[in-house]
């Protein structure tokens, strides 16, 4: 089963993601910020990660960079899910190692189709 780690500091957003992803048949782990996300990664090996950018303690950029640093060879796809549309922020995220970018509020079908495109 495809396992997804969703990282967002908003509980509402976490729950929406969880509902959407579980409905689509994914297994979902949740984390509430970058630090928590990196902790979760010690014990889980997701097939894909979805992360917010603006988060306390460790933001999305730092989190992605942290993931990439940890696992270089089998790079897990990381989708950034955020309300930010600024180009420079996207560039930063990609520089940090983000795989893709989805703008909130997300369209459920689109999110799922993108995920399916990114996981084996």
């Amino acid at each position: 089963m495809t396992r997804i780690l969703a990282v967002d500091d908003s509980k509402t957003m976490r729950c929406m993601l969880q509902a959407t992803l579980v409905d689509a048949g994914f297994e979902v782990d949740l984390a509430e910020d970058g630090v928590n996300g990196l902790e979760k990664l010690k014990n889980t090996d997701p097939d894909l990660i979805i992360t917010d950018i603006n988060m306390p303690r460790l933001d999305g950029f730092g989190f992605i960079a942290g993931v990439r640093e940890g696992k270089q060879v089998t790079a897990v796809p990381i989708l950034v899910l955020t309300t930010e549309t600024g180009e420079h922020l996207k560039q930063r995220a990609r520089d940090a190692g983000a795989t893709g970018w989805i703008v909130k509020p997300f369209d459920e079908d689109k999110l799922i189709s993108i995920i399916r495109r990114l996981v084996v």
């Binding site: 509902a19 306390p56 893709g100």
Partner: protein, 702 residues
């Protein structure tokens, strides 16, 4: 979806609280980078959630506010007084928008229009291109920065890209950069995605593959040539969408079959790709830097009803324990000390459980105080005063019910303080004071009670004027000898208002008497001190818990009643007291040099007519918040004990003279006397109107 909705608004409340506390920090000059950051995140999260629920008005406003905070965060904008004031106003409006959205409404757009335009003009310079709202969010933004593309021959014009191609076969040449793999992409998956769009052939170009021993692992050397014959309704844009996330991470060329053979692509030299280790290196620093703020304490959200059910059960436990003790006391003395020991252990345990359970309901007064800062801002604006709120002891914990029910009284008190207490900036300057008045809200735990004090540094109470008005309104007689405290306390009398033309602000048809009633219904006391020229302070003292109370069990007119012990000063046996009958028939107790009015509890509560003689009665001397004393006549005094408070209003309504009810060890209900209402106020009879016994009415059918 409803649950999510609820969750969102609950989260909004927390976020707004965070925003507000950040603003206070900022105002006090204490805001560091993380303060602004967390404020930004709060607004950002509200915007994100609001977008998900299609709350476009909220999204739009949050976006504008977020931009300003972003500028402050980035150092493009200094959080000076004007900006902070704007942020406060905007925070208030955001809170209003959330409230409106919670009830499924939008606010009339003109309501926030000026704030919105202020926000926009403040952040205008840096965010001119960025439009708020769901519209912006719905637009599919171009994927990654197009400038980063390294494609030979350049990209087709955007118009060409988007125009549908009539099922023409497309040729795609694709060569991945190392970063593509590092970012979690997999060419095979891209091809699989293409497969869904039409008939596909993929050829790998092996010519560029270097011998294995020379192969640098980080530099992929394969390139592919893909030919796709798209299905109906699939155009080049759809194909491009597959590559959306890899643009800039690969050499990519998409063209019609008829285009010149893209052999050139093969010869693109391996780019000096960014070293994959560069980004993680930066990240390490980021992790270290961002780890600094302290970890949050771990909490769970529990439905308040669950807590209340638990509290009720514990209340039952305490009652059951009392019943057990009572029936044991009635048993012939068995000299069984084991049972006695177990009983006292049980009592201790149930007491400890009760205490812990009540602590669950306790919450810091912070959010209450923060709500008040808004009242201060709004009222001072309306009243043309300048005021700031200083809060002390935000972390003091109070029962949740208390914080909720303090909102209205505190709001009213603050309006009073600013409207009547504080002078205008000009007057203050003339008096040698800071032009800006200070309202201080302080909470503290003091000897088993919670004490909340509201102070202002205004003019203080004009006692001469209060006296004059009170006389005019017939509340006092000219000859009444009143202390300063007595005069100050007139403010709590029903129907008293120091401003003749009821002020638009603090008037609103409520006086301090309403404040006092509300506090008293919480088992609290209000007192007031004032110093002319220096200010006024109102002190509210509340019981820590609303669940138990120490009381004296008494019997009056065949009824069992509880008199709380906290106002109790003295108890007098029958015959012990010197009782005088005044000319109007009222009886008073001579105590030292003071004459204390006597109230027969049975008569005050309408259980019986005033007894002819008080010779056989016990007297309970009580003292109210105002300092006035009264003696309650009762038939017998049974015992002193702790009782569990059961509200009457939940299933019935409030009863004059009665604070609440409790359940005795025998399962019977006893009423708890509201002693403050039993103390006559100077110039007036007992606070409780004495009904004529036996007469009843029915308002519905009267």
């Amino acid at each position: 979806m409803n649950d999510l909705n609820d969750m969102f608004f609950q989260e909004c409340d927390d976020l707004l609280e965070g925003l507000s506390s950040g603003l206070n920090n900022l105002e006090d000059g204490g805001g560091d980078a993380e303060t602004v950051n967390s404020m930004f995140r709060a607004v950002h999260s509200i915007k994100g959630g609001a977008g998900a629920f299609g709350l476009n008005q909220l999204v739009g406003f949050a976006h504008a506010l977020e931009n300003v905070l972003d500028d402050v965060r980035a150092g493009k904008l200094t959080a000076d007084e004007t900006v902070v004031a704007l942020l406060f106003t905007a925070g208030d409006h955001l809170s209003d928008l959330v409230d409106a959205a919670r009830h499924g409404n939008d606010l009339p757009p003109e309501q926030g229009a000026s704030i919105l335009s202020d926000l926009k003009s403040v952040s205008g310079a840096t965010h001119s291109g960025s439009e708020p709202g769901g519209d912006a969010a719905k637009e599919e933004p171009p994927a990654f920065e197009p400038m980063a593309l390294t494609v030979d021959g350049g990209l087709p014009a955007l118009a060409d890209m988007l125009s549908p191609v009539e099922s023409e076969p497309l040729t795609i040449t694709f060569k991945a950069h190392p970063q593509l793999y590092a970012n979690g992409h997999d060419p095979a998956l891209l091809f699989r995605g293409l497969e869904g769009l039409g008939n596909l052939t993929v050829e790998a170009d092996l010519s560029t593959v270097v011998p294995l021993r020379d192969a640098p692992w980080s530099t992929p050397s394969l390139s592919w040539k893909i030919t796709i014959r798209p299905d109906d309704l699939v155009d080049e844009a759809a194909v491009r969408e597959i590559f959306e996330f890899v643009e800039g991470l690969c050499d990519l060329e998409i063209g019609a079959e008829t285009a010149p053979p893209p052999g050139d692509a093969d010869s693109v030299p391996a780019l000096a790709a960014p070293s994959p280790s560069a980004a993680p290196g930066q990240a390490t620093q980021a992790v270290a830097a961002k780890n600094a703020p302290a970890a949050r304490s771990s909490t769970i959200r529990v439905d308040l009803q669950r807590v209340d059910r638990l509290i009720n059960l514990v209340g039952e436990l305490v009652i059951a324990e009392a019943m057990l003790r009572q029936s044991m006391d009635e048993m012939p003395h068995s000299a069984n000390t084991g049972v006695d020991d177990a009983m006292s252990q049980l009592k201790q345990l149930s007491g400890a459980i009760q205490e812990r359970v009540m602590a669950i309901r306790a919450q810091p007064v912070r959010s209450l105080f923060q709500r008040m800062s808004r009242i201060v801002r709004e009222t001072s604006k309306e009243a043309g005063k300048s005021a700031r709120l200083v809060t002390i002891g935000d972390a003091t914990e109070v029962d949740k019910t208390v914080t909720e029910r303090l909102v209205d009284p505190l709001t009213h008190m603050i309006r009073n303080a600013i409207d009547h207490g504080l002078e205008t900036p000009e007057q203050r300057r003339a008096a040698g004071k800071d032009e800006r008045g200070t309202v201080t809200l302080e909470a503290a735990h003091r000897s088993g009670r919670v004490v909340i004090t509201l102070r202002d540094d205004g003019v203080g109470i004009n006692r001469a004027r209060v006296r004059q008005i009170a006389q005019h309104k017939g509340l006092i007689r000219p000859e009444d000898d009143l202390t300063d405290t007595d005069i100050d306390n007139i403010l709590f009398r029903p129907g008293f208002s120091t401003v003749d033309a009821v002020s638009n602000l603090s008037g609103r048809g409520v006086g301090m008497d309403v404040v006092r009633n509300e506090i008293q219904s919480l088992g609290g006391r209000v007192t007031l001190q004032s110093e002319p020229g220096a200010g006024t302070s109102v002190t509210i003292s509340l019981p820590l818990t609303l669940a138990v109370l120490e009381g004296m069990v008494v019997r009056v007119a065949d009824q069992t009643l509880i008199v709380p012990t906290s106002p109790l000063r003295e108890m007098l046996q029958p015959g012990q007291a010197r009782i005088h009958t005044l000319c109007d028939g009222d009886r008073v107790l001579a105590l030292n040099d003071e004459l204390v009015p006597i109230t027969d509890l049975g008569a005050a509560l309408g259980y019986r007519a005033d007894p002819v003689s008080l010779d056989l009665q016990f007297l309970l001397l009580i003292e109210g918040d105002s300092g006035h004393r009264s003696a309650l006549a009762v038939d017998t005094i049974a015992e002193q004990r702790e009782v569990v408070i059961k509200g009457l209003e939940q299933n019935y309504e409030s009863i004059p003279g009665i604070a609440a009810a409790t359940i005795l060890g025998n399962g019977k209900i006893a009423l708890i006397v509201d002693t403050d209402q039993m103390i006559p106020v100077p110039g007036k009879g007992s606070a409780v109107n004495r009904p004529v016994p036996g007469v009843t009415g029915d308002a519905l059918h009267a």
